[in-house]
Amino acid sequence: MTANTYLAEGERAILESARIGVAGAGGLGSNCAAHLVRAGIRRLVIADFDTVNESNLNRQFFFRDQVGRKKIDALRENLLRIEPGLELEMHDMKLDSGNVPALFADCDIVAEAFDSAAAKSMLLNTLLPSGKRVVAVSGIAGWGNSNAITVKRIGTNLVMIGDLHTGVDPDAGNYPASPRVGIAAAMQANSIIAWLLNQKI
């Protein structure tokens, strides 16, 4: 069973057999994972080293009574509330170029869901040369400019979502907030599902 009762049998088989990696369980990762589960994905590999804190509640798929808990534990609990039959592989670890290839080796697609630009770059430069399919995000801070958030296919194995410009910059008043982060997370999940089903991304 999946949470998505609208799937055709062939689509269901593809999505249920797919294994998706999620690198980071913050604003992008937690929301992208929830969309993927609701869409019909059952098998996820999710890694994050952080704990839920008060400042996360403005955009991340966590609740006030989960503050202080490890994000991977809280996210596991929340995803299983959507679909109890999930196969979740949760890793409490900080990702780097040394552990990323093995962690996501069996994943069909990896969602880049980090906050820092350096971590995003690390993941892309580690996974892309091997041909791994990655859906990444760049440029989602602040408010407004919804139409500036686009989906770009880059090379053969990268999809990049965002406006490619608006980074988190508190001095400029650009911080991550639910609407734009949520739009990007949904577009990530949408792109992953379409890619799996060989539909237009």
Binding site: G26, S116, I140, K152, I154, G155, T156, M160
Partner: protein
């Protein structure tokens, strides 16, 4: 030598992608480069030769998630 950069014909003296980015003060680690439809990032950009007529697109990686 002329290449097509971000959709515009651009003159460059750089022989490699990394050199081209350096000409424009673009840190290599802050972008993903696509050369002739292929991703060219990190160390690849330091090695990848540029030739006349190449099509180079560069995408910024900024913080937020």
């Amino acid at each position: 030598m002329k290449i097509v950069y971000q959709g515009d014909v651009t003159e460059t003296a750089a022989g490699k992608v990394a050199g081209f980015l350096n000409e424009r003060n673009i840190p290599i680690q802050s972008v993903i480069a696509e050369l002739n439809g292929e991703i060219c990032g990190g160390r690849d950009s330091e090695m990848q030769l540029l030739r006349a007529g190449d099509v180079l697109n560069v995408f910024r990686i900024v913080a937020g998630g």
